[in-house]
């Protein structure tokens, strides 16, 4: 090590391949910090049941709350990852399972987090009587429902896209389940999985204020964390604390991005299948540093040996095990079917208790919200498309602004609604406009983010054509860039629409100190039924919303994707 230090003193830093003791110290410190946070979080779980803790809105309390929320988010992420691997593998390996699992996923995906909360909380609190673990688990699972679908979708799509030859090689060589998963399926899906993990984690924060602090059947629940800090700050009308909480949120997003996602993205580059030489490779400073750690190098070598050891147990998939597997599959299927039946029965009972007039009101509310979502998307696209193209065209601006936009897109906009809404209301802006403005605030970043990526990826020769044939700005925009960013715009619009529907729950009924702003819409309906503990109406609104979203998905978005694939894909 002395050698390396001497060299850096001479003005030549250690090269990429050399190890450094400092890195090891940093890695150990980081590990210690992570461990300490989880121990602190664990203490929360072990506490006796205390539905409502007092939240300290001083800045000094912020780091602790942020860490607690981060632990919940990471725990939810681990659950999401496990769920994704199981669900995706099942859907990809069995035609029959796929036929059931995919529509189920589409429906579940469109159910807002709030609708899960009552069932989760009541069930889990009953399961852990006298302990806070049930409540904590309910919160983690609520965050999980906001994270998981994105990843599941990506993983399943990646498994389906594995080239046939690679699958055939795995079969010819008698890969066992474990070997196939570790050496073919996960590596093939890795890039998509990492990117979508990042998006999913961001999606999980969206309802943080709601899942850490809510009322259920008149009983207020509150867990210590950044979300309830924000909720308390909003309730107290403490602008300083709201801004402090928002800053902590941004810092957390940026730190997780730098310490977790960037290194993972840089690492996952190695799983790229096609070889594109010219394009810029993602890089991460932290990743470059981490690679110089000796401890991690040891761990890596150990892991590799473990992976190799796993290769021998392959071909002899005994018939007895196959039988066992079939029995387990039957039992699981029967259990799931029973659960669905029982749930369906309860749901039907709930729904039957509603009057026809309620349903009419629901349809009206859905229509209003749909119009608002459409308006928010249209307005967002109107400015984000030209702006995104302008940014994406300049590599320097893109490199500089892209991470910024990513943070803005990851930031849970509902956190600042109570800051924005009264200001708008005081300026005499109507409730409809405020709701649309709040949705816009949430969703525009998705459009911008995707369009920037699309405009930055326009092939060089297509741009040269525009130059050589003298396409001026309007024509260049219409003929070249609009077409080139279309697939990206489609992704952006679909993501933004999902975000806007979700945001309706917080945008159509905004509580702030000294007032409330409410407009007629399905979001407001879900929020008020939740607050009042009106389970029948909550269930009905959720079912109606999910049904509408599935229809939009089938007949709207899927068509959009097909058009984008057939007409605008770049594989020339």
């Amino acid at each position: 090590m002395v050698f390396v230090r001497a060299r850096s003193l001479l003005g030549r830093g250690p090269g990429k391949g050399e190890t450094s003791a400092w890195v090891d110290v940093m890695v150990l410190l980081l590990l210690g910090a992570v461990l300490a946070s989880f121990i602190a979080a664990g203490r929360e779980w072990a506490r006796p049941l205390a539905p409502q803790v007092v939240i300290d809105t001083s800045f000094a309390a912020l780091p602790g709350y942020t860490l607690l929320s981060l632990c919940r988010g990471l725990l939810a992420y681990v659950l999401s990852l496990g769920f994704t691997l199981v669900y995706g593998t099942m859907a990809a390996h069995s035609r029959r399972a796929e036929r059931v699992l995919i529509p189920v996923r589409d429906v579940l995906q469109s159910i807002p987090v709030l609708s899960f909360v009552p069932g989760l909380v009541l069930g889990l609190v009953a399961l852990f009587p006298g302990s806070n673990a049930g409540l904590e688990l309910a919160c983690v699972l609520a965050i999980f429902t906001g994270q998981v679908w994105n990843m599941t979708f990506s993983y399943h799509a990646s498994l389906r896209a594995i080239p046939r030859e690679l699958n055939e090689v795995a079969r010819l060589h008698g890969f066992g389940f474990r070997k196939r998963l570790l050496s073919l399926e996960i590596p093939s899906a890795m890039i998509g999985l990492v990117w979508n993990s990042m998006m999913s984690m961001a999606g999980g924060w969206f309802f943080l204020t709601v899942v850490e602090s809510f009322r259920l059947g008149g009983q207020p629940y509150r867990l210590p964390g950044l979300g309830s800090y924000m909720a308390a700050a909003i309730e107290a009308g403490d602008r300083r604390a709201i801004l402090g909480g928002a800053t902590a949120m941004v810092l957390m997003i940026v730190l997780v991005d730098r310490l977790l996602w960037r290194p993972l993205i840089a690492w996952s580059e190695r799983f790229k299948q096609e070889e594109t030489g010219a394009s810029e490779r993602p890089s991460s400073f932290v990743y470059d540093v981490i690679r110089r750690s000796r401890i991690l190098a040891r761990v890596r070598r150990w892991l590799r040996r473990q992976g190799d050891a796993g290769t021998s147990a392959t071909v002899e998939a005994a018939p007895r095990r196959a039988l066992l597997r079939r029995i387990v599959a039957r039992v699981v299927a029967a259990f799931a079917a029973g659960l669905v039946l029982w749930g369906g029965f309860r749901l039907a009972l709930l729904l039957l208790s509603l009057k026809p007039g309620d349903w009419l009101g629901m349809a009206r509310a859905l229509g209003f919200t749909a119009l608002r979502v459409a308006a928010a998307i249209a307005l967002g696209a109107l400015w984000a498309v030209p702006a995104g193209i302008a940014i994406g065209r300049s590599p320097r601006a893109a490199r500089f602004l892209q991470p910024l936009i990513q943070v803005l897109a990851s930031f849970p906009a509902p956190m600042v609604f109570p800051l924005v809404a009264p200001t708008l209301a005081a300026a005499g802006v109507g409730g409809n406009t405020v709701a649309i403005a709040l949705m816009l605030l949430t969703t525009q970043w998705y459009i911008l983010f995707n369009v920037v990526a699309g405009a930055a990826a326009v092939p060089h020769d297509l741009r040269e054509v525009a130059s050589v044939f003298g396409l001026r700005r309007p024509a260049r925009f219409a003929l070249l860039y609009l077409g080139a960013v279309f697939p990206y715009l489609a992704t952006g619009v679909v993501t933004a629409a999902g975000g806007a529907w979700n945001a309706s729950i917080v945008a159509e009924a905004v509580h702030y100190r000294g007032g409330e702003m409410r407009v007629d819409g399905v979001g407001a309906l879900i929020a008020s039924s939740f607050d009042q503990g009106n389970d029948a109406q909550l269930a009905a609104a959720t079912v109606a919303l999910a049904a509408l979203l599935v229809v939009v998905n089938r007949f709207g978005w899927r068509r959009l994707y097909r058009l984008s694939d057939e007409r605008f894909a770049m594989n020339r």
């Binding site: 391949g17 396409l471 077409g483 279309f486 605008f568 020339r572």
Partner: protein, 436 residues
């Protein structure tokens, strides 16, 4: 012809690009070239010699670092108004139909709508795309796509058609057919076309189309020699005159890349001073040696080139690599297998490896790298460090990344030293690393 003003002219043009780490890469060195009205200028060179950059400078897409660019005798400001480009990759907009793609060529020309429609129809007819007006590029074969590319260029009524390896992405037969069609188009009086600038790496293509063949040298790209080609149209591949011309150009190219005597009788280099290597894979070299052995151990370099399906210049690079390793000898235009070369071809994979291992140990570049590794702790060094050391000892025009790639490929093959791509480091202890 001499009295007319050239359509486009380059005078003493240089082009350099800044690279990572502050190094500059010179792509074009002192290029002077005039394109006269009524001629086809074919620029011939291996890939990466800067000939595509030359085309982009002529059209005004890329400004030169130094030197003058003239358009009809006037300094070029912006884009050349009378030039159009046909791209190797076709560069069609996938979301536009054939008709809409062709129409792009008329943008910014201020042609009224009706007239524009008529012109688009006319060129679509001209290149044989009738019936495909409403098709999307995705539905077309490569040849048809390039017809769209040509139509898009022609619809402007350009004086100068710049073609950047226009047949490079097509299969042999399609390329052949399109090549003759281009000659016919070029001879039609009604296209308004005066001259063509063709970029190519195929000698036959240059001889088939070019009135003047500009042979390009590499590192950095420069004009080596201009060969006149007065063969009458229509030209045919098999004729004696054609073959003679091909031979003549071949001679020029071979002299350029395989000079019999070193151009500068350099003083004997110190034994471990790094020197550039031809960017060639060992499998390519082995393939060429085996072909040579099959043909009795010696051959004419052109005949050898015809037998391999490598790109122009690549065969010569492979021969150079063989010469460097003492597996080949090249008196004049002959390529001869040396005794060592025969031993190599006769050996099994392990014997070949051993032989190559011994040869690489003698090469100054490899001695240099091995020396570096032996002095390093644990006998490992990062790629960045090695590249830095190489760069410090080689002329600034040498592409270091490519050289490093070649070094790694050769030494992996011969198990001289290993390269761990994950850690990005070279290590000497090949056996040990494999064992652990």
């Amino acid at each position: 012809m001499a009295g007319e003003t050239p359509l486009a002219e380059l005078r003493g043009v240089w082009k350099t690009y800044g690279q990572e780490g502050g190094r500059e890469l010179t792509v074009l060195k002192d290029v002077t070239l005039a394109i006269q009205p009524g001629e086809v200028v074919a620029v011939l060179g291996p890939s990466g010699c800067g000939k595509s950059t030359l085309l982009r400078i002529v059209t005004g897409l890329v400004p030169p670092t130094r030197g003058e660019v003239l358009c009809r005798g006037e300094p070029l400001a912006g884009l050349h108004p009378g030039a159009a480009i046909v791209f190797q990759s076709f560069a069609l907009y996938p979301w536009l139909t054939v008709q809409q793609n062709v129409r792009i060529g008329l943008h910014g020309k201020g042609v009224p709508r009706d007239e524009a429609d008529a012109q688009v129809r006319r060129v679509i007819d001209l290149v044989g795309l009738e019936g495909f007006e409403e098709a999307f590029p995705k539905e077309l074969s490569g040849g048809m796509k390039q017809r769209v590319g040509i139509a898009r260029a022609l619809v402007r009524g350009p004086e100068l058609l710049c073609m950047d390896e226009p047949f490079g992405s097509l299969d042999v037969l399609t390329a052949e057919a399109l090549r003759s069609e281009v000659t016919k188009l070029w001879q039609r009086p009604d296209t308004g076309l005066k001259s063509v600038l063709l970029i190519t790496h195929l000698i036959e293509e240059a001889v088939f189309l070019g009135d003047r063949i500009v042979v390009f040298g590499t590192n950095p790209g420069h004009i080596h020699k201009v060969v006149r080609n007065d063969l009458p149209y229509p030209r045919e591949y098999g004729t004696k005159a054609f073959l003679r011309k091909v031979d003549e150009v071949h001679q020029v190219v071979t002299r350029l890349h395989l000079p019999d005597e070193p151009l500068v009788p350099a003083p004997e280099p110190p034994p471990d001073r790094p020197a550039p290597l031809p960017a060639v894979g060992m499998t390519q070299l082995t393939g060429l040696l085996e072909i040579l052995a099959d043909k009795g151990g010696q051959m004419d370099v052109f005949a050898l080139d015809a037998l391999t399906d490598y790109e122009f210049g690549q065969t010569i690079a492979v021969v150079k690599a063989g010469e460097l390793l003492d597996l080949l000898d090249t008196p004049k235009n002959r390529v001869i297998l040396t005794a060592l070369g025969r031993a190599y071809v006769a050996g099994d994979p392990n014997a070949r490896k051993r032989l190559l291992h011994g040869q690489l140990r003698e090469l100054p570049t490899f001695r240099f790298v091995v020396g570096l590794l032996e002095r390093a702790p644990e006998k490992r060094l990062s790629a960045a460090a090695i590249k830095e050391e190489l760069a410090a000892r080689l002329p600034p025009t040498e592409p270091i990344d490519r050289l490093f790639q070649t070094i790694v490929t050769w030494s992996r093959y011969a198990e001289l030293f290993g390269y761990n791509a994950t850690a990005e480091e070279l290590y000497l202890d090949v056996e040990g690393a494999v064992a652990s």
